[in-house]
Symmetry: C2
Subunit: 190 residues, 2 copies
């Protein structure tokens, strides 16, 4: 399990509340690890009682107060230990692939609309990634302190992960085109 670790990484990149984390899990880090707010609050509680994170009450005006979490030494150590622990290449869950194989026993052409929907979703996500890349990773590297940083690890590594997302979406779009061409070879009905 690695939700704790995804949260640690996100909090190291920038401290924040459970609510803010939940929003980040809808974009950014969420492209590579999903979580709902309920899960995040529950895990944050556990991380707090384990001493992995520190909490600070932050009064706000115009909106409810929040609890801002930041990574404690124990959390940093836990992340480091996880990083040094080998993990197995991910176990996959591709509903769509199962559906495509299953379509052989139903009407294959009925899947076309579904595959097109997925293709659109991937096209949108690709556009979103590319926009983010242009926004955040073009122009000179500037560290958060404003000083020139020739090798800003945080930025470089975020960028390579984003490039992975871009490559994945491009691959998916090409493959879904292949799937559509294959499905189109079958006549309607069976």
């Amino acid at each position: 399990m690695a939700l704790e670790h995804a949260i640690l990484v996100s909090l190291l990149e920038k401290p924040g509340s459970g609510y803010e984390l939940a929003r980040r899990f809808e974009r950014s880090i969420g492209y590579f690890w999903t979580a709902t707010h309920q899960q995040i609050y529950r895990v944050l509680k556990r991380m707090e009682s384990d001493g992995w994170v520190d909490v600070r009450d932050v009064p706000q005006q115009g909106r409810p107060d929040k609890k801002e979490y930041s990574v404690a030494d124990l959390g940093r150590a836990a992340l480091s230990s996880w990083l040094h622990d080998p993990i197995e290449p991910e176990s996959v869950r591709h509903d769509l692939a199962v559906k495509i194989r299953g379509a052989a026993f139903d009407d294959p052409t009925a899947l076309i609309r579904e595959v097109e929907r997925h293709r659109l979703a991937h096209r949108d996500r690709l556009a979103h990634y590319l926009a983010g890349e242009t926004r955040d990773f073009t122009g000179p590297a500037v560290s958060t302190a404003g000083a020139k940083a020739p090798l800003d690890a945080e930025r470089e590594l975020q960028h390579v992960v984003l490039r992975g997302g871009i490559a994945y979406e491009r691959m998916m779009i090409e493959w879904l085109d292949d799937v559509l061409a294959t499905l189109a070879r079958f006549g309607p009905g069976r």
Copy 2:
């Protein structure tokens, strides 16, 4: 949840026992949906009591008897209904991507060995897929009955799913090379 559906597809492709299904989930369908034997036996029980599958005791010689499952009408209907139900594009879980972003707060170069391990695993899987493609999808299309089938849906759809696996592995290998090049730009330690 779709383990039921993955099992239905696999049983439609060929009836078999829980044990045999578990082995298929280590290859073939398992490349796109993972499951352990405990999970499979539990779900098969439920599917049986729901009338989705039929069971037949098959005595064997030289080994324990087995229960052979095959898809019942209710199961076929359930699969069909699932196929017509739109699903959301998958939620992703990429430990490695989280690790790479986390490495910015530790020693980035310490991840190199781990990334190389993953690269090897993907290279092996690619080789495995390519061998399977050569074995099963070259030469003339021949249906199970031995007759020429100009449009064998089952075979065509299995092939396009396999091509997806191949494209995925190729993309991953290229990306991991990119990751390795990025990590190499950081000196040892920090």
